[in-house]
């Protein structure tokens, strides 16, 4: 008998979900196990169902939350919407979920939060699943060995109608990360270093699988930070093979299997990791132990440097369009080639988003802010990723640490990551943000964003300037 072909984690996930194989004439039909929806990218899809008079096929596989345009400030129980449009968008989600029988985690309710935070937290995100959402950071869920990817609103409608999507098989890309992260260096720094290395389109057409001893040593919160930003490398998804860390995280969560079902599920999940000898379409290796705290200086997440490194000269970037983009970025950011980011005066610090608003992130920021004060003139927003994280942070007294330092402690949501809800950075202001995108205007028109880890963000809050967080560690 022939040896069965060695397969990668991704190939196994793909095979398990093929409803109809691809042909010359059409892509494969892929089954979707879990569909997450939110207020911004679903209304037009619901309208399409209505227009075509099609039912939502599997309400039991559809979960809704409110996150992008909801306020993070309340007057008592009253949400303080930024305007009538955001209020109407949130109300539309409520009405649509009622009409189609979709479970909605509404604002303020236990379980509500940023879509990519609550999926794992509720135990909905499980190894082996296909998970989609009308949001590019769906790649986050890949940290559990699930094939998870962002889709547009038309495809949100496809999944609502058929629980399936048309897909051509992506290529595989191994990003191998060996070694231990040094003290003061976080998963955020690591993924920023990876994006700088592979480029903002280095993952195009590929699903990245992160492997190596560094990945194995990371917690689930850290792994989610890594997979979250796969899209910033242009990848179609990010994956990490499930292991004991994954199983321990999931056991006992609301929607995780129980009893005999749990043992069977774990046995199945153990078969998912990439087989020895399986081949990836391409590979790159990085020594994680050499990574330092990273900060971005430009207007895409690939434009980053180590905290002690100078900003590179755009003229050194070969192609004309590339050099043009780099100098436009520096002009927008009001930064000069050759200078260091350290010491630059900061106006706003944002600790939040699906990248870095989990409990470990808040703990890290609080560890630096405890007993210290936010520098005068700096506005600091701490926005937990979900109601559950908020509750646990309050239990641990983290909210007090932030408040006593002079930071604002808000209710869960996307907040300043996308600045749709009224939380924003003013034109010209410099923000150090734990979110994932430093695009022009991402945090508000004219806002200048420096992406960094929760530790680096906390250090900026205290010092009022961009600083190396390692200098504040005990």
């Amino acid at each position: 008998m022939n040896e069965p072909k060695a397969r990668t984690l991704f190939e196994k996930l793909w095979t398990r979900h093929v409803v109809q194989p691809a042909t010359e004439d059409h892509p494969a039909v892929i089954y979707i196990d879990l569909h997450l929806i939110h207020e911004v990218t679903s209304p037009q899809a619901f309208d399409e169902l209505r227009r075509k008079n099609i039912p939502l096929r599997r309400p039991d596989r559809t979960i809704a939350t409110m996150d992008h345009s909801i306020p993070t400030l309340f007057d008592g129980d009253e949400p303080l919407y930024s305007d009538d449009k955001t209020r109407a968008q949130v109300d539309t989600l409520r009405t649509n979920c009622d009409e189609y029988g979709v479970r909605l985690y509404a604002m303020g309710e236990t379980g509500q939060g940023i879509v990519h935070v609550i999926g794992p937290e509720l135990g909905l995100t499980q190894p082996g699943r296909t998970i989609v959402c009308g949001d590019s950071h769906t790649s986050t869920h890949g940290a559990f060995g699930a094939w998870a990817f962002g889709i547009g609103t038309t495809e949100v409608g496809h999944v609502m109608a058929t629980q399936s999507l048309l897909q051509r098989q992506p290529k595989t890309f191994e990003v191998r990360l060996d070694g231990r992260l040094a003290t003061g260096v976080t998963a955020k720094d690591l993924i920023l270093a990876v994006i700088r290395e592979v480029g903002v389109d280095g993952g195009r057409g590929h699903v990245i699988e992160y492997t190596g001893s560094c990945i194995a040593s990371l917690s689930m919160d850290e792994r989610m930070t890594i997979c979250n930003m796969s899209i910033e490398a242009g990848a179609r998804a990010g994956l990490i093979a499930p292991d004991e860390t994954t199983f321990t995280y999931l056991e006992g969560r609301e929607f995780a299997p129980t009893g005999d079902g749990w043992a069977a599920a774990v046995a199945d999940w153990r078969t998912l990791p990439t087989d020895a000898g399986a081949r990836y379409d391409k590979s790159v290796t990085l020594d994680a132990s050499r990574v330092k705290p990273m900060v971005t200086y430009g207007t895409n997440p690939g434009m980053s440097v180590s905290i002690d490194e100078a900003i590179p000269d755009p003229a050194s970037r070969g192609e004309q369009a590339q050099a043009a983009a780099s100098s436009q970025a520096l002009e927008y950011m009001r930064m000069q080639p050759g200078e260091s980011l350290v010491g630059k005066s900061v106006d706003v610090v944002f600790i939040g988003s699906c990248t870095n608003a989990r409990l470990e992130d808040l703990r890290a920021a609080a560890s630096l802010m405890k007993g210290r004060k936010v520098a005068p003139g700096v506005r600091v927003l701490v926005v937990p990723g979900s109601q559950e994280i908020k509750r646990r942070a309050v239990d641990e007294g983290l909210d007090r640490v932030f408040r006593e330092a002079g930071a604002e402690w808000r209710d869960p949501g996307c907040s300043m990551c996308i600045a749709m809800n009224g939380d924003g950075v003013a034109a010209g202001e410099l923000a150090v943000s734990t979110s994932n995108r430093n695009f022009e205007g991402r945090q508000g028109k004219g806002a200048r964003t420096v992406l960094a880890s929760p530790l680096t963000a906390a250090a900026a809050a205290i010092g009022g300037t961009i600083a190396d967080p390692r200098e504040l560690l005990d």
């Binding site: 398990r16 409803v19 109809q20 010359e24 004439d25 059409h26 892509p27 039909v29 089954y31 911004v40 990218t41 209304p43 037009q44 309208d47 399409e48 075509k52 099609i54 345009s69 449009k85 109407a88 968008q89 539309t92 949001d135 590019s136 962002g150 889709i151 547009g152 609103t153 038309t154 409608g157 496809h158 109608a161 058929t162 629980q163 399936s164 048309l166 051509r168 903002v200 389109d201 195009r204 899209i231 242009g234 179609r236 895409n300 192609e319 004309q320 369009a321 590339q322 043009a324 983009a325 996308i418 600045a419 749709m420 995108r437 695009f439 022009e440 205007g441 991402r442 028109k445 004219g446």
Partner: protein, 185 residues
């Protein structure tokens, strides 16, 4: 969706790499619940500048946008192709176009055209050139009659050329989907 076979138009050139969907349509315009009227907000923050390409008279009537590499990266917002179409674009040409954007574009009748570096450079250096996007032949015909080939998934192309909604194909798979659901847990 409007069928697309062939269009000829002058180009508008945006010679910047990594144009992300936050530039194409900033998030503050995503609070709508329809697809309508987004063209007005296309590249909203860049359009403040009276010298921005889309504000110049040469842009009038152009339906082909040429941009730097990795066009459409970032967020999955389909508002990006909706805004481009509403403004009047029917095709976007680059040396590379981000995956999710490409996927969203074809579903709405906006043709993503990825050409080789040489043709791309020519287009970047010759704004306003009159070119033809021929979907039937999968060719971008240049002013000198030369042509650059481009690749597009056969199924997406078929749907674009005939104005077919991909959902109709998926709905026809009902039997296979039901079978899959009954055999897998």
């Amino acid at each position: 969706m409007e069928a697309f076979r062939k269009i000829t138009s002058k180009t508008v050139v945006l010679p910047v790499d990594n144009v992300d969907t936050d530039q194409i349509i900033p998030a503050r315009f995503l609070t709508i619940t329809t697809k309508l009227g987004l063209g007005e907000s296309l590249f909203a923050d860049w359009r403040n500048d009276p010298e921005f390409v889309l504000n110049r008279p040469e842009a009038e009537g152009a339906s082909i946008l040429v941009a730097g590499e990795n066009f459409g990266c970032g967020s999955s917002r389909e508002h990006a192709p909706w805004a481009l179409l509403d403004f009047g674009f029917r095709a976007v040409v680059s040396s590379s176009i981000a995956d999710i954007f490409k996927n969203n574009a074809v579903k709405n009748g906006l043709v993503p055209v990825e050409v080789d570096a040489k043709a791309h450079r020519f287009l970047l250096e010759n704004p306003g050139a009159s070119v033809t996007v021929d979907l039937e032949a999968c060719k971008l015909v240049l002013p000198d009659g030369g042509a650059a080939e481009f690749l597009l998934d056969g199924f997406a192309r078929h749907c674009l050329m005939n104005g077919i909604d991909q959902l109709d194909f998926l709905l026809q798979q009902e039997e296979a989907i039901a079978r899959f659901e009954s055999t897998s847990t």
